[in-house]
């Protein structure tokens, strides 16, 4: 496969702006880039989900223009999505053969299961074709996706952030599978933002930055530092200007907290954690390790199964979200559009979302629109929300400005503690800096800040202490000042023994 000067422009955004790539037969080729570098846009174009603005994709020596995934599959491209395209209610065999089932009118289940079993053995995937997909672990579900690709005789496998949801053990197994594929001569395109994985698994690496491919290098000759420099484009990583912290008394204490998600799966498995006034505690971890359930549980959005949450000296484990808000917990939720805002409400209505019961916004159950509007206008000025129009609906704002509205609402309530989950996800650099400044300002005012983020850079640059969560447990707490990317990354991947790590 060859990609020549591919571009994809959205209104106002150049998601891909000159992508060049050559994929050789039988190699594992990694595409490395930070979140927002344009990797997923590139994938969607290769897979026919988006049409390029300009440029060309050549596959097997011919220029191709896929208008749908169907055409891409037909041409021999197999894609394993980050979020699996599996039907939980069906069996493995049914999922694999769907769309190309054996049989005429009757579905020949036996034949389907036989074919899937054969494929599974051929590629050493060890999957029971009769199992229901809903009962499989994430790692096994990923193998079903790989099987789907092989069943359709894929000549190229694309793995999109394949380790995002995997345990370290599952990651090892996946890498063994990829090595097997390479031995069989199947080229693999491995998309990731994780340096260590890319170094381990790939033959060559193409680094993307800001929608462009920067350089393609042989993995053998690359070092973590050289790749990191290519990724971020400068020697120094983004550091936020901040003075030394002056941590005070603990504001939040968590004892042996257990939380189950809506699917009754235990996500938080006995967390003990302490957050002090005047510090930023970063909670680092790979997505899916319970960090967001922990944040939701502190805010009261999910009930704790077991354990205690002590806030400002009181046990709040059984309090409602409204009561916790009242006691001074502010929360910037992970999914701002689903949780943090009512998109069809205007900014005034969104600004009072957490305090609509209280004066001055309401008296005796009647909302004082004028008071709410003048407060909103003040926040819009202070936080530079654009456009500065309180009567706009939240849906009409850009992501960065939506986040500003949420942050303005939360920090202006004069809370004792702020939980910020993924506060800068998908935002541009200017907006990120503004939000980081607010977090530091809050800390300097003596508030406790719990920063939950999947961006290691963000955690490293902001945190006074870093707690690492893995598989629902805090595996280490290290001082932020001297923490390194490699050290935290290792902990996030589940390697225990934090004493020697924090000294290294």
């Amino acid at each position: 496969m060859e990609i020549v000067d591919l571009k994809k422009w959205f209104p106002g955004v150049k998601a891909n702006d000159g992508v060049n790539l050559t994929l050789r037969a039988g190699e594992v080729h990694a595409i490395l880039g930070e979140n927002g570098a344009g990797k997923s846009t590139l994938m969607k174009m290769i897979y026919g989900l988006l049409e390029p603005t300009s440029g060309e994709i050549r596959f097997m020596g011919k220029a191709v223009h896929f208008r749908s995934p169907r055409e891409a599959i037909h041409a021999g491209i197999g894609m394993v999505h980050q979020h699996f395209m599996l039907i939980p209610a069906l069996t493995v065999a049914e999922n694999v053969v769907l769309g190309d089932e054996p049989g005429r009118i009757k579905f020949n289940r036996k034949e389907a299961e036989r074919r899937v079993r054969d494929l599974s053995e051929k590629y050493r995937l060890a999957i029971d074709p009769t199992a229901k997909v809903a009962d499989l672990s994430v790692g096994l579900q990923q193998r079903v996706e790989i099987l789907k690709a092989f069943y359709r005789k894929a000549k190229l496998i694309i793995l999109d952030e394949p380790t995002a949801l995997l345990t370290p053990q599952e990651t090892r197994e996946l890498f063994a599978i990829i090595h097997g594929l390479k031995a069989d001569g199947v080229p693999v395109l491995f998309i990731s933002h994780k340096l260590d994985e890319v170094l381990e698994i790939s033959d060559r690496v193409t680094v993307m930055r800001a929608g462009k491919t920067v350089e393609t290098v042989e993995t053998a000759g690359a070092t973590p530092q050289s790749l990191a420099n290519l990724m971020v484009g400068r020697e120094v990583v983004l550091r936020v200007e901040k003075n030394a912290a002056h941590p005070g008394e603990p504001i939040l204490k968590i004892h042996d907290l257990h939380v189950r998600d809506s699917g009754r799966i235990e996500r938080v498995k006995g967390v003990n954690l302490e957050l002090r006034r005047g510090e930023i505690l970063g909670l680092a971890g790979i997505d899916g390790n319970g960090q967001f359930e922990l944040a939701d549980a502190i805010a009261g959005l999910i009930k704790a199964e077991q354990g205690h949450i002590i806030f400002d000296g009181h046990d709040i484990t059984r309090l409602t979200p409204a009561e916790r808000t009242e006691r001074g917990i502010a929360y910037v939720p992970q999914d701002r559009q689903a949780d943090g805002l009512v998109l069809s409400f205007d900014l005034v209505e969104n600004t009072i979302l957490r305090d609509f019961r209280k004066r001055p916004f309401a008296k005796n159950g009647v909302i004082d629109r004028a008071a709410a509007a003048s407060y909103t206008e003040r926040l819009i000025r202070e936080f530079d929300v654009r456009p500065p129009d309180a009567s706009r609906k939240a849906s009409e704002l850009s992501g960065g400005n939506q986040q500003k509205v949420i942050l303005a609402r939360e920090v202006s309530r004069d809370p004792l503690m702020l939980i910020a989950a993924q506060p800068t996800r998908g935002l541009d650099v200017g907006a990120i800096e503004g939000i980081h400044r607010q977090l530091v300002r809050l800390r300097d005012e003596g508030k406790g800040v719990l920063l939950v983020s999947l961006e290691l850079e963000e955690i490293l640059s902001l945190s006074d202490r870093i707690a690492v969560i893995h598989d629902g447990r805090i595996v280490a707490i290290v001082p932020g000042a001297h923490a390194t990317r490699e050290q935290i990354g290792l902990l996030m991947a589940g390697s225990h023994g934090h004493s020697e790590v924090s000294m290294s």
Binding site: L86, I87, L90, L98, I105
Partner: protein
């Protein structure tokens, strides 16, 4: 003891038909991901056009064919709105129900005057299967049942086989669970959904025709009397499977049959008629078994936004 009387079981079977047929139809529609609350209206359409064409052509079978065609067309309109336009499926269904109630009454009054359909309209035959009617007890149950009763029994079995043991059935189920996944595997989501909804229209129309030219030979305004809605409940009660729907329809049919029997003993029919509705609420409240709807049921799919 009334339960030992085969007549009550014969009545149960007979009452189950106009519930089981639309319930199975609804199963096909919802398994592909389209909520169909228009079954009540489609039944009315089926019932009315069955009578009309039966009278005009003199053949109940041609009446049945007309019912199927009109029911299928009505379902196609629902399908277009739900699939192509991504409109709210409950609202669309409501619209069709009111439209169907109005249209059938309107046409009844304009085509046949205000005195109802002619009494000499042909109806579908009642039959007894030779041999089966010789078996004691069972024979009485199946004695002189409408031919549609037997057709229904066959359809129940075929439907179950079709949904769970054919390639198309597998594709229908996949579309109702995760349309995007199905689409990426080359399955035409929209076409499958059209198929499911129109199939539900055919089944519902058949159920309506059973009322008008199977049991009776005439049409009265609103003669379905909410059966389309009870069928919806039977489908849920039957966990979105044809066999389950049939089982639930039998339970609801039995409660109606019981009502008829007990009415002779001085119990208000109004109170007894509440039984199916009350059972439905209990089923929905999870007090008599819980069912999980297809994951994408009621959610429009737009392939261009994926």
């Amino acid at each position: 003891m009334i339960f030992s009387d085969p007549e009550i079981w014969a009545a149960t079977l007979s009452m189950a038909v106009p519930l089981a047929l639309p319930a199975i139809g609804g199963t096909f529609s919802e398994r592909t991901g389209v909520v169909n609350i228009a079954m009540e209206g489609i039944m009315l359409i089926g019932a009315f056009f069955a009578v009309t064409f039966s009278y005009w052509t003199g053949s109940a079978w041609l009446g049945l064919l007309a019912a199927l065609i009109c029911g299928g067309l009505t379902a196609a309109a629902l399908a277009w709105g739900a699939i192509r336009v991504s409109a709210d499926q409950t609202v669309l269904g409501m619209g069709i129900n009111i439209f169907a109630a109005g249209l059938t009454t309107f046409l009844l009054n304009t085509l046949f005057g205000f005195n109802g359909t002619p009494i000499n309209t042909p109806k579908l035959p009642d039959i007894s299967i030779p041999g089966l009617d010789k078996i004691p007890y069972i024979g009485v149950i199946f004695q002189n049942q409408s031919i549609l009763v037997y057709i229904m029994v066959v359809l129940v079995i075929i439907s179950h086989w079709f949904l769970f043991h054919t390639r198309l059935g597998l594709r229908m189920r996949s579309v109702g669970e995760h349309p995007l996944a199905a689409d990426t595997l080359g399955i035409n989501v929209w076409r499958i959904r059209y198929f499911g909804v129109i199939l539900s229209g055919l089944f519902s129309a058949l159920g309506g025709a059973y009322l008008s030219i199977g049991v009776l030979n005439g049409f009265t305004p609103n003669m379905t009397n909410g059966r389309g809605y009870i069928a919806l409940a039977a489908m849920i009660f039957g966990k979105w499977t044809p066999l389950g729907s049939f089982g639930a329809a039998l339970i609801f049919g039995f409660s109606t049959a019981l009502g008829i029997v007990l009415q002779g003993q001085g119990i208000s029919s109004n109170l007894l008629q509440m039984i199916p509705y009350a059972l439905t609420i209990l089923a929905l409240a999870g007090l008599v078994g819980r069912a999980v709807a297809p994951a994408a049921d009621g959610i429009p799919y737009d392939p261009r936004r994926s």
